[in-house]
Amino acid sequence: MGAAELPVLPTALTGSYPKPVWLRALSRGLKMYENKKRLKLLREAHNDAVALVVKELEDLGIDIPTDGEVRRDPVTEYLVKKIYGFKFYGPVRMWGNHYVMKPVAVDKLRYLGPILVSDYLHLREVARSRIVKVTITGPATATDWSFNEYYSSREELMFDLAKIINRELKNLEEAGAEYVQLNETSLLSAPLDLESCVEAINEAVKGVNIKVGLHIYGYSYERLKPFFDELEVSQLTLGLAGYSFKYLKVLDGINKEVGIGVVDVQAYRVEEPDEIIRAVRKAMRYVHPECIYVNPDSGMRYLPRAVARRKLKSMIDAVISLREELKRRGLTAIPLRRTSTCP
C-alpha cells in the first residue's frame, strides 16, 4: 500500500468520545444475564456504538476518527484484562464520583494475545475515512495507573508493560493498522524517572513500522523537551487549549510532527473558531504547517455529547478556514508520515 494522503492540517480525535447514553443504560441492564450471554450482547452493543460514533465524527468532518474508546473504561482496565499477572481489588476513586478499576500487578506479566486487534478490524470496517487511529495506553501511564505488589520497582513493571505493548503494536500492524497512538497522559506527572519512561516508550515502539503518535497532557512540557529527539515516535500530540495555549512555545525548534490540542476537554465552554485559528497560526510560527495535526486536548469522555460535538464543529470550521489560507500557498495535502522527524 502506498503512502496515504491527508488534507493539510488533518483533524483527528485524540482518543475518547462521550459514550451514547443508551450504551450506559444498556450496560447496566445486561447485568441480569449470565456472563457469556452478557458479553456477547455487550459486544454487539459496543459495535453499534462504535459505528454511531464514527459516523458522527465523520459527518462532522473529522479526518481521522478513533472508535471513541466506547468499549473501554478509563486508563488501564481494558488493557490489562488480557495480560496475565494482574488482578483487581475493586473500583478506585479517581476524582469526585469517578472511579476506575486500577489493576494490581501480582505476578510476572505475560502477554496472552491480541487486545485491540478485533476492535481495530471493526473500526476499519465501519469507517469511511482512509485513515483511522487506534489508541493504547503507554507503558508509563499504565504503570502509573497500576498498583505493584510483585516487581521490585515500578520501573521494572513499566519495562515489562512496554514489551507487552510492543507485541500488541506489532499485532495491530500485522492486522493492517496504519496509525496507533500511545496515550501517555501521566508521563509528566507520574512518580517515575522521565528518562526511564522515554526508554520504555522507545521499547514499546521498537521494530514497529507504522505511524505511532504519543499523546501527552500536562503543563510541564518543557521537562520533556530535552527528550523530543530521542523519542522514536512519529507525532507528539499535546493538550494546549486547557492551558490557554501558554505552552505553545515548547514547540520552538521541534523537528517532529505535532498534534495540537485546540479545545479544552475539561471546560464546557465551546471555543470560537477564531480562537482556534489564532492558536494554530501561532503554532505555525514554530512548526511547518505540513507537520501539524489538529485535535482536542485529550479524551472527550467526560464532556456531554452535545458539547463535544459543538467543540469539534468549531475545530473543523477553524481548520477549513486555515486550509483556504494554506491553499493559496499551494499546500493542500500531506502524506501520512511514519518517520520520527518532520518535515
Binding site: 481489588y89 475493586g90 473500583p91 478506585v92 476513586r93 479517581m94 476524582w95 469526585g96 464520583n97 472511579y99 476506575v100 486500577k102 494490581v104 502509573d144 495507573w145 498498583f147 505493584n148 505488589e149 501521566s186 506527572s189 507520574a190 512518580p191 486547557g242 475539561q266
Partner: protein, 340 residues
C-alpha cells in the same frame, strides 16, 4: 497522661467514598433522587464506617469525609472569591482534585455547612461508640491551600497564605468548635514536606499555622505526608511549642523518622504507618517494632494511622489496612495492661 504509655489507632483524613454512595451522588446530580435520599445514604454509610472502626478498635477518627470530593471541595464552594479550577493531581496518587481558582478577595460565606455536617457525624459517632471516642475535622492547611491555588488576585504567596488563614480557616474553625466543642481539628499540610516549595514560603506557612492554632487555643493535629520531614525539622519544631499541636509524621516517606522524632523531642506523635499509595499490606510485627523504637525515644503517646487520605486505595484494601492498624494498637494496649 503522666508516664503511661498510650498507643492508639486513628483514621486520618478520608476513607474511600463507598462506591454505592458515589452512585447515589451521581443519581442526585442527575436529578434522579432527592437530597433527602442522598442525605440518608450519607448517614447510612457514615454509620457503616463508624461501626467498622468500632469493630477494629479505632476510636480516633474523622467521619471519612464522605461529603467531600477531595480535601478542598466542597470547602471552596463556600468561600467568596474562589471557583473550582482545573483537575489537578494530588501528589503522586492517581487521585485528582479541583484546584481553587482565586478570582477576588477571599471571604468565608455565611452558609457554610461544614460545622453542621461534623455535628451530625458527631451525633452518629455518639450512637455507635457508647464510650470514649475522638472525632476530628480534616481541613486543608493554609500553606497547602495557597500552594494548590491558582492565584489570579493576590499575586503574592504570603498574602494568599494569610488570607486563607484569616478569612477562611480561622472563622470556619471557630464555627466548627462552637458547634462541636470537643472536635479536634486535623490540618493537612503535606506541602510542608514537599520539595517543590521554598523554605521561605514554608516558614511563612508555619508562622501562619502557629498564629491560627494559637488564637484558637484548641488541640489540633497537623498532618504532613509524602515527603521527608527531616528537611524542615527546624521549622516544624516551632509548631510544637505549647503542646497543643500533635504532629503527623509520614513514617513511610520520612527518610529517618526516628532521627526526626528524636530531634523534635516530642512526647506525643501521630505516625503515618499505613501507606495510602500502595495495596501492599503493612505487617503487624513490623509496625510493632517501629512503634517500640519510637517509644524508646521517650515518646509517651503514639497515634498510629494512615499517612494520608485513603481515597487512592480500593475500599477492600483500606478496610484490611485499618483492621491491621487496630490490631497493632490493641496488641500494645494488652501489653500495657499486662505489664501494669
Amino acid at each position: 497522661m503522666g508516664s503511661t504509655l498510650v498507643v492508639k489507632a486513628a483514621l486520618n483524613g478520608s476513607f474511600p467514598r463507598f462506591f454505592k454512595l458515589a452512585k447515589l451522588y451521581t443519581r442526585f446530580s442527575l436529578g434522579w433522587i432527592t437530597y433527602r435520599t442522598l442525605e440518608s445514604g450519607i448517614r447510612e454509610y457514615t454509620r457503616k464506617l463508624f461501626e467498622m472502626l468500632r469493630g477494629f478498635g479505632i476510636r480516633i477518627f474523622t467521619d471519612g469525609m464522605f461529603r467531600y470530593d477531595d480535601l478542598f471541595n466542597p470547602l471552596i464552594q463556600y468561600v467568596e472569591g474562589v471557583e473550582p479550577g482545573k483537575l489537578t493531581r494530588f501528589f503522586e496518587c492517581t487521585f485528582y482534585f479541583k484546584a481553587p481558582l482565586i478570582k477576588s478577595r477571599l471571604r468565608l460565606k455565611d452558609n457554610v455547612p461544614i460545622p453542621d455536617w461534623l455535628h451530625l457525624s458527631s451525633v452518629q459517632a455518639g450512637e455507635v461508640f457508647s464510650d470514649e471516642y475522638v472525632i476530628k475535622q480534616p481541613l486543608p492547611g493554609p500553606l497547602t491551600l495557597a500552594t494548590f491555588s491558582i492565584d489570579e488576585y493576590y499575586h503574592d504567596m504570603g498574602r494568599l497564605i494569610h488570607a486563607w488563614c484569616t478569612e477562611v480557616l480561622e472563622p470556619l474553625i471557630r464555627m466548627i468548635l462552637s458547634k462541636v466543642p470537643n472536635a479536634v481539628i486535623e490540618l493537612h499540610e503535606p506541602v510542608l514536606v514537599s520539595k517543590s516549595i521554598s523554605r521561605e514560603v514554608k516558614r511563612v506557612g508555619v508562622s501562619e499555622v502557629m498564629e491560627l492554632l494559637g488564637s484558637l487555643g484548641s488541640p489540633a493535629w497537623v498532618m504532613t505526608y509524602f515527603g521527608d520531614l527531616g528537611d524542615v525539622v527546624d521549622l516544624v519544631g516551632d509548631l510544637l511549642t505549647g503542646g497543643k499541636v500533635l504532629l503527623g509524621v509520614d513514617y513511610r516517606s520520612c527518610k529517618s523518622p526516628l532521627a526526626v522524632i528524636k530531634e523534635l523531642g516530642v512526647r506525643k506523635v501521630a505516625l503515618g504507618m499505613i501507606d495510602a499509595r500502595t495495596t501492599v499490606l503493612e505487617k503487624i510485627l513490623v509496625m510493632r517494632d517501629e512503634i517500640e523504637e519510637v517509644l524508646s525515644l521517650g515518646v509517651r503517646e503514639v497515634y498510629i494511622g494512615n499517612n494520608a487520605p485513603l481515597d487512592p486505595l480500593p475500599e477492600v484494601i483500606a478496610v484490611r489496612k485499618l483492621r491491621r492498624l487496630g490490631r497493632t494498637a490493641r496488641g500494645f494496649a494488652l501489653l500495657t495492661r499486662l505489664i501494669g
